[in-house]
Amino acid sequence: MTSKTIVQSPRMIWTTRIIGILALVGTGITVWLGLWATPPDQTQGDLVRLVYIHPGVAWVALYLAFGLAAGCSLLYLWPRTRSLFWDRLAAASVEVGVVFNACTLISGSIWGKPTWGVWWAWDARLTSTAVLLVLFLGYLALRRVPAEPEVRARRSAFAALFAVVDVPIVHFSVVWWKTLHQGATVLNANLSPTIHGSMAWTLLLGFVALTLAFVWMLLVRYRIGAMEDYLGSGELDMALLERQSEGMAPVPATGEAPEALAPVGSAPGARAPAEVTR
């Protein structure tokens, strides 16, 4: 499947929309369950409600987004599967992942203040997560350096692979160093979750909803990236057609629409419509 078909196919556009709607609904139900339906925790009280969001956000950022970026980078570097498709997907994944990574740190801080008494602790997991954010910000900075698409793709792929080395460090930091941050609740060593009942279901739904949100953002960001590339490669007309066919911006009809768009106060039908259509 080439990148063009993904951007253009109406099926893909509809899939994106449906995933977006599902993500929205899922997040809405998670919020309702998390804030009202589930009981407060025995020891943590209402603070436990953050647990429905924070691990899910972290899961998306660290494992899904950065893992996908590393996988795509490998596929790009592998000569047989080399395609700018993987490069764009990796870039989109990192960009969304960075947002989720920042949200992980923010939601963790909000929980840390009332629980640990501080916004930030120099704990191994917190520190390594913050380092991860900086590493991938570096990746995005490297991408912004003007270069030929192939050169940029290659360079970025290496940077992503170097940065992703930090992910296992973050994951095992709670085991290697005895940290303030608690250990794994669900994906622990003997795979027996230490959370049950309605709380477990809400947590699970949170994971699903945030994963869907990630996929939706990834697809949208990928489309934008692909369109930017068309723009750069002189295929502006195709990008414009593509944008217009989404139904967001209707194609101006030659007769009436331009007049509606003409600025108020300008002579109607004189010069303005011609400028707009051009």
């Binding site: 380092v131 290659r154 940077a159």
Partner: protein, 223 residues
């Protein structure tokens, strides 16, 4: 590969011996950094002694960025990089050679800064071998990760600003482990105090040396 390593390291060190850039610019920069830290902490001795391990490693990290930039810029003029690619030297050997040369310069710098820390901050070293081990392992890690990122940013017009941003977070574990080992060494700690950090440094070195050996060749094609 090992012959190429020595050739490459010998070339870089010979350039350094003739140009004396590290000696006349990087080492003084490290000392200036130490003096500035002392100004920032005020004339009182106790915070300086307490912070000496961390300040030493921060000064090392900043100086190593300069050493890496120098090591990269040596290849960037007169088509030196294309020449190297044509030379048929094993890319892994080139990587190890450049790493070795940077590491040798950084070890020399560590001796200077170590003496500076003792003289300027009044820190007294209790366990010398812990210092030596942490410096050696930390230096290899700094040089390997630096050479790798240096190669990645080579040929970029804005590498002066991008390289520190990319490199410094990556070498944070070296700062962390080096500082802890120095703290143990200054307080007369036993080997046990340094062991987990010792493992971290070894793992860091192994990861970046292995990465460099594998990907240095392909990276050269990007620039």
């Amino acid at each position: 590969m090992w012959r190429d390593t020595l050739l490459m390291a010998g070339k870089d060190l010979r350039i350094e011996a003739r140009s004396r850039v590290a000696l006349s610019q990087v080492a003084p920069f490290g000392i200036v950094a130490l003096v500035l830290f002392a100004f920032a902490l005020g004339p009182d001795r106790s915070p300086m002694v307490k912070g000496a391990p961390g300040l030493f490693w921060v000064a090392m990290l900043f100086s190593s960025v300069l050493a890496i930039q120098r090591s990269v810029s040596v290849e960037s003029t007169d088509g030196a990089r294309d020449g190297l690619r044509l030379s048929g030297l094993d890319p892994a050997g080139q990587f190890l050679g450049k790493t070795l040369s940077v590491a040798a310069q950084l070890v020399a710098l560590e001796v200077v800064l170590g003496v500076g820390v003792v003289l300027l901050y009044g820190a007294s070293i209790q366990t010398y071998w812990l210092i030596a081990v942490s410096c050696l392992l930390g230096t290899i890690g700094l040089a390997a990760a630096g050479t790798l990122y240096g190669a990645l940013s080579a040929g970029l017009r804005i590498k002066e600003t991008l390289l520190p941003f990319l490199l410094l977070p990556v070498v944070a574990p070296v700062l962390l482990a080096g500082t802890r080992m120095w703290q143990a060494a200054l307080s007369g700690g036993t080997p046990a105090n340094g062991t987990p950090w010792f493992h971290l440094l070894i793992a860091f070195d192994a990861v970046y040396l292995a990465l460099g050996v594998v990907v240095y060749g392909p990276i050269q094609e990007t620039a």
